[in-house]
Symmetry: C2
Subunit: 276 residues, 2 copies
């Protein structure tokens, strides 16, 4: 396989009817990323691996930052002194000396996340211990026309997906509809962690005047991460899950699903959507 | 929300152009399932939670069994005396007294799986410690025409997906093309664990004369689980990832992707496919 960032190119056989075409195909790269924490007071620094995720390489520092934030392990970008890619597929996050670290939470995190495909939390209850209370809803409304336009504008920005068909995207728009940023990854939670990590590093949180667009389905974990970042409007091209809807309701997040072909469904928070 | 097994029904607003239609929508149910192990010699029985996964309720015993098997924690169905759903969203798997349990592996498992969206393993190296060596390839071939027909036959069987649009499916066909079983879940790894767990409970492993059909993308974790079950042909409706292809190559698995509209791509193991 030939690799370029995020894409692997390899020879395949394309079959149609009785014909075999020797061709090249481009795949989304999937590789493990180990996240390790260095923490503790001077003279007693410790290092601990806290996570391995299968991700598409690129924006690893954002991914690690976003992950630590959306999992409730750090609360500000300033908690991180620096990140070091000191080994292949491993990133060391160096925390400040005075950053309190809830090792119990880390321990719980190991437990609750194991084998978990779509979620780093065991339940709504566990989330409540991490996630800030719902913020007072901002008094702003979004036009349906603006919402219709989001998927096309995402596609214009999505480069990897076009070629591989195998990546999830998370994109951020400002409330006026300005495109702000996009991250892609083989794991939808990673794409969102990268996006939120990038906003955190740019000191843009909370994202209370922003729209989060998801290229696929909306499951619990994605809404949980959006809530951590203070996002109040989430639009997904695919279907939401039952727990995603419950969580959106609880955190007063407007949740839109099946946003495609100039139509969408509103699952929660319809007050923020203006239909002309 | 009104729940029926696997489906939640709730009132939503459907928006199209300037029209608002009050309607009902059906969502895939997403709920946590805690898997706990009871193990150890008589007189010194212990209990330990080992995983929480967000899953669609239904076939929980199969899910737990399949998970324990594909993660290399048990090696035979007979290791399990019984399963008990003794609490809501929690299942207790009672192992036999003489079943050796590698607590180190469990510990590693906690670590390697945390936050991991698509994979329970840290790397190909970690997998090699769990997964049996590739079996000698069976000398059988599959007609392209049979492969073309699989997605339509899956759709005929997929009931939940039709209404929710939010579930992944994994289906098993015999080498002659007979449909054998189907499992659906909000997590693609859960759908496959349920399918493999069901086959394990029916003592059908290894599945070396079977075709595994995946409704979506094929990532590393799914190929790893297929390898554990001895599956030699995997066909995915969506794209494979780079690591999925590498793993399929290593375990001599035929990997087909983008199986739709009477065409498909062969990524590995083309020798098993017969093009008329």
């Amino acid at each position: 396989m030939t690799y370029s960032p995020g894409i692997a190119r390899l020879p395949i056989q394309k079959i149609r009817d009785a014909a075999i075409l020797e061709a090249f195909d481009e795949l989304a790269v999937e590789e493990p990323l180990e996240i390790r924490l260095q923490y503790g007071p001077s003279g007693n620094r410790r290092e601990q691996p806290i996570s391995i995720t299968m991700r598409t390489p690129g924006h690893d520092a954002e991914l690690a930052t976003g992950f630590l934030f959306t999992e409730g392990i750090i609360h500000h970008a300033s908690a991180i002194l620096r990140t070091e890619t000191d080994r292949p597929n491993s990133i060391l996050v160096v925390l400040g000396e005075n950053i309190p670290l809830d090792l119990g939470r880390l321990q719980r995190h190991f437990y609750t996340s194991s084998s978990c495909g779509v979620c780093g939390k065991s339940s709504l209850e566990a989330l409540r211990t991490v996630c800030p209370s719902p913020q007072p809803a901002a008094a702003w409304q979004l036009d349906a026309d603006l919402i219709y336009s989001l998927p096309d504008r995402l596609l214009q920005q999505q480069q990897l997906f076009e070629t591989t068909g195998g990546l999830h995207a998370a994109a951020l728009f400002h409330q006026e509809g300005t495109f702000l940023s996009l991250r892609e990854d083989i794991g939808r939670h990673n794409a969102l962690d990268k996006l939120i990590g990038s906003a955190l590093l740019e000191e843009k949180l909370p994202l209370s005047r922003h729209i989060l667009l998801l290229s696929g389905r909306a499951c619990f974990e994605l809404i949980q991460k959006a809530a951590m970042a203070g996002i109040q409007i989430v639009a997904a091209v695919g279907a939401p899950s039952s727990l995603a809807v419950e969580l959106a309701q609880e955190y007063d997040i407007t949740l839109i699903g099946f946003l495609r072909d100039q139509r969408f469904n509103i699952y929660t928070g319809s007050g923020r959507i203006h239909i002309r």
